[in-house]
Structure formats: structure tokens, C-alpha cells
Symmetry: C2
Subunit: 338 residues, 2 copies
């Protein structure tokens, strides 16, 4: 088997990440030697995907402490406190980031800023990373049970190694099924407007030696009708107690089409993606993306000046359209049933 | 009411067309003074849409005869015969083009190449144009009957004035409904890969003062779920006797989604689009587009080198998903029923 991308690695005291802005044109790594470089990488989307951002943030705290050691003892605590705030603010909506920073803050508080602290923070970041990796692996193994021999999958966006500290969620299932020799082929929706499907998913599945075919999003229905899709698998940004799932725009289209064609529809995500505080997902949680991503997304204007654009970032798929949820804890039936 | 684009006009002995390659950035006209310039405009997609291409081809034959008048009497017939072949070959798959050239050929054959012939060909091309214009108008009037007060429409691709010699087919219905004060709003799918929805439909509806909002194709489902779409209306490339309809890729997705949400789905096309020789549409009539339109459609590569692409140009919507057909002859129920 070919390699799966190592999105994030701690190497010789600095953070090495795949520069996702350069993909799929070239595979370049960024060596992030201080916490500001990590913030910059998060802001420019060189690193993306909520789990990957969380891991990067945890390492960034360690880098901030390392830098503080160059200052006088008096100045260190202030420097670290400010750094923690800056790191947490790099992408305010990424829940994993604030969660990872919180883990590090507990370690930092009330102790001397010294070499021992630095080592503890590196270890702690490593644990955040390792936990995510194991979670991905468990999702992959659990989900692969659902994949039949010689099956073809359809996916959208990038719920893969590039978005996590391991083999990904939806793509994690595909990697394990591929290892087991069961997966025949994957179709990847390009995922307008930002093309995570063509830019990232096609790249990482191709690197792993998986037979991947790119389609524009509106080919999905005709592909299903042709009998070429055995199951659909997607990631999730947030899942309510009732199973309603927020994910990349276009997911709901696929869920409706899958049901109409009698094709199973699976959602793969860590158990922590279930927001038990929410009985259902309010439609208003959906943020809108910038119109420019649609009107001149490719560096060239392709719509008239001033045209109104409606570009929701996510959509909500009701549980009734979901065959099963695949988490690190196991497989549970969705409202549509297994 | 604001103006609807005049895609094609015969002005002072030459053919004036909207340069659709420049849209939506600027509205420029091309003055085509000889038949070769018309062929060039067809090949570069400066003029597109089967009806519009047919009209341009008919005028091109007149321009060829005009040019032949500069030659010696002996050379004229040969020149015109060759020009007819070249014009017909400009886009071999455009049925309207070969049909229009055939009409002109009948006039040309066996008569002297002189001023009288030129005048007859200009008249004949004008009739082809006028017939198309009247057909569009009739479709518009017939379809507007289906539009309720304050209705919002969803459409895909460009079945509008830019594709025809009149107000278009699907968009023709919207223009008439707008004139009647019934149409509230239109959502236009961008229509990957070539973005005819964002480039052309948003432009021409905007020019006509219609409230138009652009969406990426995968927003359609979530938009329907939100209750904002009252009906879907699309054009057609070919319709079989059983009502199965070939149209731009993405049409089938919309038809499945419309049925799932209980939203009427209308197909608007001239009666001549019905291919009575075909009982049903074979899936294999669907040609595939070039992978580059998906992997680097806008001058910038957005997918890994060598990735496999599946990019059908059209899809087939079965009659069971169609509420009604709107033609120049009237409205008839599709398999889904009115």
C-alpha cells in the first residue's frame, strides 16, 4: 500500500505540516518554528480541518513556551498568556482549537515557565495528536464493516488524513476498506465553491493508491442512477441528539439522491461530534461564505458584477436520510435504518 | 421593463451578434461581415445555443453569396457550394445548424448566384429567425400560465435569449411571467463545469431587471428544503416519445430533488425538440466533456495531474419526474402529472 499523507508531525522541536494551499500542484512541507508561524498557517488554510487545527494549536502552545525561555524570567508568564490568547483566536469557530488550547492552559497555569513545562506541553500535544489518530483508526475499522466486497463509494469535501491527525473519518473508512481489499473505486465530488474534493480528496486518495474519479457535484444523481455507486460516505461538522447532521454544502443533496436510488448513506465522525446539548440543529447555525468564492473563485470573474449570491457553507441532513453513523465507538443506525 | 439581449441581428448587410465569450464582463457585439467570421464565431462559442447557431448559419449562407458576387460568374457556384459545406460543418452536432443550412441550400440550388438570390437568402434567414422568435414567445406565454403570483423559480444552464433568436425557452417563461408581474425571484444554478448559469443566465436576467440569485449547484436541495423555491424550470436538448428528457448535466439532480420536496418540475422547449423517432433516450447518447473543464476550468489547475474525471455533458430525466412540458403548442402533463 502507498502512503497516506502525514498532515502534521513534530520533528526536532518544530512542527512540520503539509502546505495544503499548494496542493494538489505540489507536496511541500512547512517547518513552523514559532507559534506565530502556526497561527499564520491556520489563517491561510495551509492547515485545515477542525481536528488538524486543534493538534496544530496544541503544539503552538509548546512553541510559545520554548520562545519564552529566551526572555528574562519576569517576562515569560505574560508572553505565554498572550500567546495562548492569540493561538485560541486564530480561528474562533474551530471548536477543536479552543478545546486543545484549553488542555494546554491547564498545564501552564500556576507553574514556572521552564524546560520541564516545555517538555510536558510537547507530550500533551502529542497525546492530543495520538488520540485523534486512534479515533480515526477506530472509525475506519468500524466503518469498513459496512463496505461490501468490490464496493464503489461516493464522497464529498475532504474528511481525510489532510483534515485530521490520522487517516481521516469518511476517508478513514475508505483507507481501511482498501487495505482489506474490499474497496473497488471512489468517486469524489469536486465540492464547490472551494473544491476540497478535487484539490484534496483526489490528491490524498491518489497518493494512497486508491482508484479515484473526480466528478462535478451535479453528476452525482446520474452516477447513482447508472448503478455505479454502492454507498455514500461523508464526514460531519456537528450532529444533534436527534441525528440531524451539519456538514459541507452538498451533503443534503447527496442524502436525498441516495435515498431516491436506494443507496446507503453513512456519516463518519468521532463520537465527540455529537452535540448532546442540542436536541436538533437550528437552520440558523449555517454561516454564509463570501460571494467572491462563487463569482470569481478561480482567479477569473465568472458572474456579472453585483449579482446576488446565496452561498451557505453547510447544510443539514435530517437523520431520516442517514442509514448509519460510524464513530470511534461503533456503528449505530440512523433514522433511515441500516 | 428593461431590455432582453438581442443575441443576433441582421444590420446593414452584416450579422451583429453578442460576443458571449466576453460575457458577463462586458457586453460587446461582433459585426460578422463574411461567412468565415460566422463560422469562427460558432467555433469559439461567441454564439451558442442550438437555435441561435441555426439562425447564424442561415445568415452565413447569405453572406457567402454576397461575397461570391465579387467573383467572376464562372466561379460563383463553386464558391457558394464550398461555403455551404464549411458552414454546415462548423458544429456538426448542432441539429438546428444543419437544418437551417438545408433550408438555404434548397433556395440556392439550380439558380443563378446574383443579387436576387442574395436578397431571397436574407429573407429566408430572417424567416428562420422570426420563426424561432415566435416559438420562444409562444413557449413563454404558455408557460407563464403555470406561474403563480409571487412565485420563485429555480433554473439551470442558459435556456434564454442568449441561446435563441427570441426570449428563450425556460427563461422565456420567466420573462413573460415577470412582465405579467407574477415572478418574484429566480435562483440560477451556476452549472458546472462551464458555468452557463453564472456567466449567462445571471447576466441576461439581470439585464431584464429580474431579481436573480446565483447558487452553486449543490445548494439546490437545501434551498428547496427551506421553502424558497416554488417551481423548477429547465430547457431540453432532446425529448423522446416517452417524455424522457436529455438536458445539461445537473438537470436530473434537480428533478429528483424537486420531487422529494413536492415542487413542480417543468421542461420548456419547442415542439421540434421532441424526437418522435426515439421511443426512449439511450444513455449512450451522452457525450463526455473534456476533463480539463473540471480540473483546470478557469486557467488554474485545481485537481491533481492525471486524475480520472467523469464529466458527462448531459443527463436524462425520466418523464416520471417531470410535472409538465411547455412547448410552443401548449402545456402537456409529464409522467409526474400536473
Amino acid at each position: 500500500m502507498n502512503t497516506i499523507a502525514k498532515t502534521i508531525e513534530w520533528v526536532d522541536g518544530s512542527l512540520r505540516i503539509v502546505d495544503q494551499v499548494r496542493l494538489p500542484l505540489e507536496l511541500l512541507y512547512l517547518e513552523l518554528k514559532d507559534y506565530r508561524a502556526v497561527i499564520e498557517a491556520i489563517k491561510t488554510l495551509a492547515v485545515r480541518g477542525a481536528p488538524a487545527i486543534g493538534i496544530a494549536g496544541a503544539y503552538a502552545v509548546a512553541l510559545a513556551v520554548k520562545e519564552a525561555l529566551l526572555l528574562s524570567v519576569d517576562e515569560r508568564e505574560d508572553f505565554v498568556r498572550r500567546a495562548l490568547e492569540e493561538i485560541e483566536g486564530a480561528r474562533p469557530t474551530a471548536v477543536n482549537l479552543s478545546y486543545a488550547v484549553q488542555i494546554q492552559r491547564v498545564i501552564v497555569e500556576g507553574v514556572d515557565v521552564d524546560d520541564v513545562l516545555f517538555a510536558r506541553l510537547v507530550d500533551s500535544a502529542g497525546e492530543v495528536h495520538e488520540r485523534d489518530k486512534m479515533m480515526c483508526q477506530a472509525i475506519g475499522v468500524n466503518g469498513a464493516e459496512l463496505v461490501g466486497q468490490g464496493a464503489t463509494a461516493l464522497t464529498i469535501c475532504n474528511a481525510g488524513a489532510l483534515a485530521t491527525g490520522g487517516i481521516g473519518t469518511a476517508l478513514g473508512v475508505l483507507y481501511v476498506a482498501h487495505e482489506q481489499g474490499k474497496l473497488k473505486r471512489v468517486f469524489s465530488c469536486e465540492t464547490r465553491p472551494l473544491l476540497q474534493g478535487s484539490r484534496l480528496t483526489c490528491w490524498e486518495l491518489g497518493q494512497a493508491g486508491i482508484d479515484v474519479t473526480l466528478i462535478v457535484d451535479s453528476v452525482a444523481g446520474t452516477l447513482m442512477k447508472s448503478g455505479q455507486v454502492d454507498f455514500v460516505i461523508v464526514g460531519a461538522d456537528r450532529i444533534a441528539s436527534n441525528g440531524d447532521t451539519a456538514n459541507k454544502i452538498g451533503t443534503y443533496n447527496l442524502a436525498v439522491l441516495a435515498e431516491a436510488h436506494g443507496i446507503p448513506f453513512y456519516v463518519a465522525a468521532p463520537e465527540t461530534t455529537f452535540d448532546r446539548t442540542l436536541e436538533r440543529l437550528p437552520e440558523k447555525i449555517i454561516e454564509e461564505r463570501s460571494p467572491e468564492e462563487v463569482t470569481c473563485g478561480f482567479g477569473k470573474r465568472t458572474a456579472p458584477e453585483g449579482v446576488r449570491v446565496y452561498s451557505p457553507a453547510f447544510d443539514i441532513t435530517p437523520s431520516e436520510l442517514i442509514s448509519a453513523f460510524v464513530t470511534d465507538l461503533g456503528v449505530t443506525a440512523g433514522g433511515r435504518g441500516l
